[in-house]
């Protein structure tokens, strides 16, 4: 069974927001609700400055705190490691929003359901690749099977020594090059 994950290379991300809008379109989200958020980080001081755009979305954690706290079991993890929300079970208590350390959970309106990135899951499989990866103008996103050492994502993670954003918070399945 595959174990899906993603690699985001901030050294290639110019912050064009295409991923956010493609995600909104394919998920039918209104303009002001988004599963991908952006953080601009400045390091150093003038004139020795480095600035990066860090897109953040659900990390599909192996030990997803949102799933642990979800009282209704609306949040669950598929065999392939994708963390999903059964919208028909969600009561909108927002406990998952509080528990997620990445601020990746979004309450949708008017349904009140709390959703998040689902790797474009549809009919038992993730998008291949998900919409954000497909539209990324610079190839800053790679999607694939973390358990397959021959996959592009595994090779790239090894080559770039990509790491989860905050390894001490959860066991995330989105790796970052920074």
């Amino acid at each position: 069974m595959a174990r899906y994950g993603m690699l985001i290379d901030t050294k290639k991300c110019v912050g064009c927001y295409a991923c956010r809008i493609a995600c909104q379109m394919i998920n039918g989200l209104p303009s002001d609700e988004a599963f991908i958020k952006f953080y601009e980080e400045e390091q150093g001081s003038y004139p020795n400055v480095y600035a990066e755009n860090v897109p953040v979305q659900c990390m599909h954690c192996e030990d997803a705190p949102c799933q642990t706290v979800c009282p209704t079991t609306a949040t669950y993890t598929t065999d392939s490691g994708v963390v999903l929300v059964d919208e028909k079970k969600c009561i909108g208590c927002k406990y998952c929003m509080a528990a997620c350390p990445y601020n990746a959970r979004v309450q949708l309106h008017p349904s009140g359901v709390v959703e998040k990135c689902r790797f474009c899951w549809y009919e038992g499989e993730p998008g291949n690749p998900p919409a954000c990866v497909g539209t990324c103008i610079s190839g800053a996103r790679i999607f694939g099977d973390l358990d397959d050492p021959e996959s592009e994502i595994c090779k790239e993670i090894a080559r770039t020594n990509a790491q989860p954003l905050a390894g001490d918070l959860t066991r995330a399945k989105i790796y970052y090059v920074r």
Binding site: Y39, E41, V54, V56, P65, T68, V69, C70, P71, T72, T73, A74, E87, K88, K89, C90, I91, G92, C93, K94, Y95, M97, A98, A99, C100, P101, Y102, N103, Q107, H109, P110, S111, G112, V113, V114, L165, A166, L169
Partner: protein, 288 residues
């Protein structure tokens, strides 16, 4: 912030409900003649809990669209919220039956009272654990928060019950030294526990320190010092402590009645403000 005043109200009402039930049980044993106060506690418990639950449901937007979904709340025993649902499932019927028995002037059986007391403690503790298990917020994620919430719950329940006792049956109320003493002691312990928690959170992480700073010196400082520390802790301590430890005699003057009412109300306001501040001031751990 993920949660707002609605959830703070729920946390407060659930805690005060549990505290009121425990107060009533305590009064029933120690002061069997103080009927009005006991009845007050028995009635406050289910009413507060019911209002709290209503607010909790109103905050759960998706559940309000499809109320049958609330049934799923029992599905994840690993979630503190589900545990809370279990506790409430026991506590709510028990305190409701106790209230009905009290209204019908039938004695509440001892075993039922004990189930109620234990489940009340569980409910009060759960409101603390609910936040306490969330790793993302250092202000919540510490072992002291549940203790603080339990103490504050007892204090608030006692205050709500006392307030009614004070108004409806003052003469007898002024004789209940144990109740009054507990009240003063609870205020003192709550202050110490709160102080300890803030010290520990402050030293634990930058985000924790930022949360504490926002409480004691930042945007929440007026509410923290005015609503929680002065009105909710110091004023009640002084007002109740004065007759209990200094004059050591029951008060009868109208002035003292007004002052006592202020003290009890202060505890209630402080109880709500505490939860509101804990909910609002929590800052998440940085992930970047």
């Amino acid at each position: 912030m993920v949660w707002g005043p609605m959830i703070a109200w729920y946390l407060f009402l659930a805690g005060a409900s549990a505290g009121a039930f425990i107060t009533a049980a305590f009064v029933a044993r120690k002061y069997p003649d103080s009927v009005k106060m006991r009845v007050a506690g028995r009635l406050i418990a289910p009413v507060f809990m019911a209002i709290g639950l209503l607010l909790l449901m109103l905050d759960a937007e998706a559940g309000m669209h499809d109320p049958l979904r609330f049934v799923y709340l029992v599905l994840n025993p690993g979630s503190v919220m589900t545990l809370g649902v279990y506790f409430i499932c026991i506590y709510m019927p028990v305190c409701l039956i106790a209230a009905i028995l009290e209204i019908r002037k039938t004695p509440v059986p001892g075993w039922l009272d004990w189930i109620g007391i234990i489940s009340a403690f569980c409910v009060a503790a759960y409101t603390g654990f609910l936040l306490g298990v969330v790793h993302a917020y250092p202000l919540w994620n510490n072992a002291i928060l549940p203790i603080l919430f339990v103490i504050s719950a007892l204090s608030a329940g006692l205050a709500a019950t006392s307030l009614i006792g004070l108004i409806t049956d003052r003469e007898r109320f002024e004789q209940m030294w144990l109740v009054k003493k507990s009240h003063v002691i609870l205020s003192a312990i709550e202050a110490i526990v709160l102080f300890t928690m803030l010290v520990i959170v402050n030293s634990g992480s930058p985000e924790g320190a930022a949360s504490v700073h926002s409480l004691i010196a930042g945007q929440y400082a007026p509410l923290f010092w005015g609503g929680l520390v002065i009105l909710g802790l110091i004023a009640p301590f002084m007002i109740e402590g004065y007759p209990v430890f200094i004059t050591k005699k029951p008060e009868t003057s109208t002035t003292s009645l007004v002052v006592s009412i202020i003290g009890e109300s202060g505890v209630l306001i402080g109880g709500f403000v505490l939860r509101l501040l804990i909910v609002l001031a929590a800052l998440p751990v940085a992930f970047l």
